[in-house]
Amino acid sequence: MSGQAETLLSVRGVETYYGKIIALRGVDLEVRRGEIVTMIGANGAGKSTLMMTICGDPRARSGQIVYDGLDITEMPTHEIMRMGIAQSPEGRRIFPRMTVMENLQMGAALVDPKHFEDDLKRVFELFPRLKERLHQRGGTLSGGEQQMLAIARALMSRPKLLLLDEPSLGLAPLIVKQIFETIRELNENEGLTVFLVEQNAFHALKLAHRGYVMVNGEITMSGTGAELLSREDVRAAYLEGGRH
């Protein structure tokens, strides 16, 4: 799978600060076209900061982020998102007072409206539950449905690269399995490139082609998902207490 495919996103020596506090200490990372890459790590390791830095908010103080051959380090957030990157942010962040339909429409804000009906059909196939809830207010959905909506909303922008920040957050194991299964389908059937940040290390590493482990703002390990899963130190640090 990997190896010969070209690089879609590369992060080189990125440092990010919150005021004087350093959050990312020179992160290097690569996502190739058609891959699922995951980044695991404990709370406060800097996973979400890395994801937000890719989107340009907060900005990297040093280092370089290159997407599809273009340096996007200094680009405004909304222009980065217009280049075919879509994000399902941490905590889902759907629009609670708008209906599911309106949420999906917001996701398609940048796309030619003639694709809208087709894209809508496509996300309904992936998440049939959303079709049932179409005219319901986003805030009245259950946690799992909200996560589905967040991913569906991101997909509505026809992305080349999908950034997912902790899609398993606060969800029942069965729903988590369902959502990860959908991500695999998207990757296998449509060749969608996915960069996944997770705490649920077992599921994430099983799903991903390659993985990175982040500790304290630095990447300490990397390898294929299976490799990392079999390593003793990874198991001890992130899979203690069995398979979540």
């Binding site: 989107c55 909304h78 222009e79 962040r93 759907i94 209906t99 804000a109 319901q136 909303r153």
Partner: protein, 472 residues
């Protein structure tokens, strides 16, 4: 007095179902007794505060007894306490609960009712001047004037609704744009001889420009911080108008602002006036009717534009921005431009309303653009239900019309003496009304939100689905 509230209802210990009639009788007796005690206390306390009136006289105080006021106050306490006892404190179903439930139910019934209410109001608004001329020949001028005032606030409310209700940017200085619009027209007419119709678009553009000027520094602010800065902005505009004497006339204001013309025809008595041209008898009411239709048209334009914008990407972006700014950015929405358009379009309608205000009054001064105006406009938007167009109309009628109604409560002077002026208490009553609405309808009178997009067939969406939760 409150201590009697708890002991009476179940003190006899009998099962309630056994003797309902006797229980009711006991309740009445206890209520009467409680009310009598309250009336007695009111009589004792009120004897000095209400019954005696002291005036300073040469050589001491002159004391006059006010028996009527004293007795009336005792009777009010007795009656009020009795009513509270019977219907709230000791009732099986407290009346407050029923009223509260009714008020909450009203919001759910409104989306269906709303359409017809809106059509009814619209038709009534179209024929209103003729209705008043036919129904109240002596008072038509006063009523049409009031309708003009209410419509001005409806328009301001709709303008502010774009900023506060849709984009979720709390703006406490909206009156600044109203002032910019009014002064733009007044100054353009004073220095360059512009008429109303020429100045109107310019006033809107200038106000929109100031909206962008305000928008830039506050782009990064939200909530409380934004409110403080916009409040300051409103005051800055007013203070500048007040102190730039050579240009704006300062506290003296600007007078002699031209009246609007009807395709060049003035509403004057002369041979080239409106009445003479159409062969009508001259009447000053023509001008009022004309002003009414101008503000009605302006307000309707505001409404139609807002409704259209809500269904366009920019309007949806405003609402999404209100919901979650970070999510908006991560969907590729340029939040800076979205905020600036909300500020400038809201300001533009404020500017239109301002230049209408100037032409209606013929005179403006900074006194008309105090913070209180901003507060009233914001209150109209919040009471109506943020983002609801019909809610703004109802709230404007209730607040502005309500304040005016107080002027007509002449009978109160017969109770409280000739010096009593209900208008002085308008802010108190206004505040009380707001508290009650916020207790019973915390999300405003119309709290449902009509979705701006539906799939294919426009199917009715149940109120329970779109009703606003307390949390969001």
């Amino acid at each position: 007095m409150a201590s009697t509230r708890t002991d009476a209802p179940a003190s006899d210990g009998k099962p309630a179902a056994e003797m309902p009639a006797q229980a009711a009788q006991g309740r009445l007796a206890a209520s009467l007794k409680d009310a009598a005690v309250a009336a007695f206390l009111a009589g004792v306390l009120g004897f000095f505060f209400i019954g005696l009136r002291t005036d300073i006289e040469p050589g001491g105080l002159e004391i006059t007894m006010r028996w009527t006021a004293w007795v009336v106050s005792i009777l009010i306490v007795f009656g009020g306490r009795l009513a509270l006892n019977l219907f709230v404190f000791r009732a099986q179903r407290p009346a407050t609960g029923i009223v509260g439930a009714g008020l909450s139910g009203m919001g759910e019934a409104l989306p269906g009712l709303g359409k017809w209410l809106m059509r009814g109001l619209f038709v009534f608004a179209l024929v209103l001047p003729f209705f008043f001329m036919a129904a109240f020949p002596g008072k038509d001028r006063q009523f049409i004037d009031l309708a003009i005032l209410i419509l001005t606030y409806v328009m301001l409310g709709w303008g502010l609704n774009i900023v506060v209700g849709l984009a979720g940017l709390l703006d406490l200085g909206y009156v600044a744009f109203y002032a910019v619009g009014a002064y733009s027209f007044a100054l353009l007419s004073q220095y360059f001889g512009f008429g109303f119709w020429m100045a109107l678009p310019l006033a809107g553009i200038l106000a929109a420009f100031w909206g962008i000027i305000l928008g830039f520094p506050v782009l990064r602010l939200r909530g409380d911080y934004l409110a403080i800065v916009t409040l300051a902005f409103g005051e800055i505009i007013r203070v500048v108008l007040l102190n730039w004497y050579e240009f704006t006339g300062g506290p003296d204001g600007i007078s002699g602002i031209p009246r609007p013309t009807f395709f060049g025809l003035e509403f004057s008595r002369g041979d080239d006036g409106f009445a003479a041209f159409f062969g009508l008898d001259y009447s000053p009411i023509h001008r009022f009717v004309y002003l009414y239709y101008i503000i009605l048209a302006l307000a309707l334009i505001t409404n139609v534009v807002t409704i259209r914008l809500r269904k366009l990407p920019i309007g949806r972006a405003w609402e999404a921005l209100r919901e979650d700014e970070i999510a908006c950015r991560s969907l590729g929405i340029n939040t800076r431009n979205t905020k600036l358009t909300a500020f400038s379009i809201g300001a533009m309608f404020g500017g239109f309303a301002g230049s209408f205000f100037a032409t209606r009054q013929g005179f403006i001064s900074p006194e008309s653009f105090t913070f209180l105006e901003s507060a009233i406009i914001l209150a109209i938007v919040v009471l109506g239900g943020l983002g609801s167009q019909i809610g703004v109309v109802i709230a404007a009628i209730v607040t502005i019309g309500g304040i005016e109604m107080l002027r007509n409560l002449g009978f109160l002077t017969q109770i409280f003496g000739p010096g009593f002026d209900p208008v002085q208490y308008r802010m108190l009553i206004f505040g009380l009304a707001m508290v009650f609405i916020m207790v019973w309808k915390p999300r405003g009178l119309v709290s449902t939100r009509e979705p701006s997009a539906v799939l294919k067939e426009k199917k009715r969406i149940g109120a329970d689905m779109v009703a606003q939760g307390e949390g969001h």
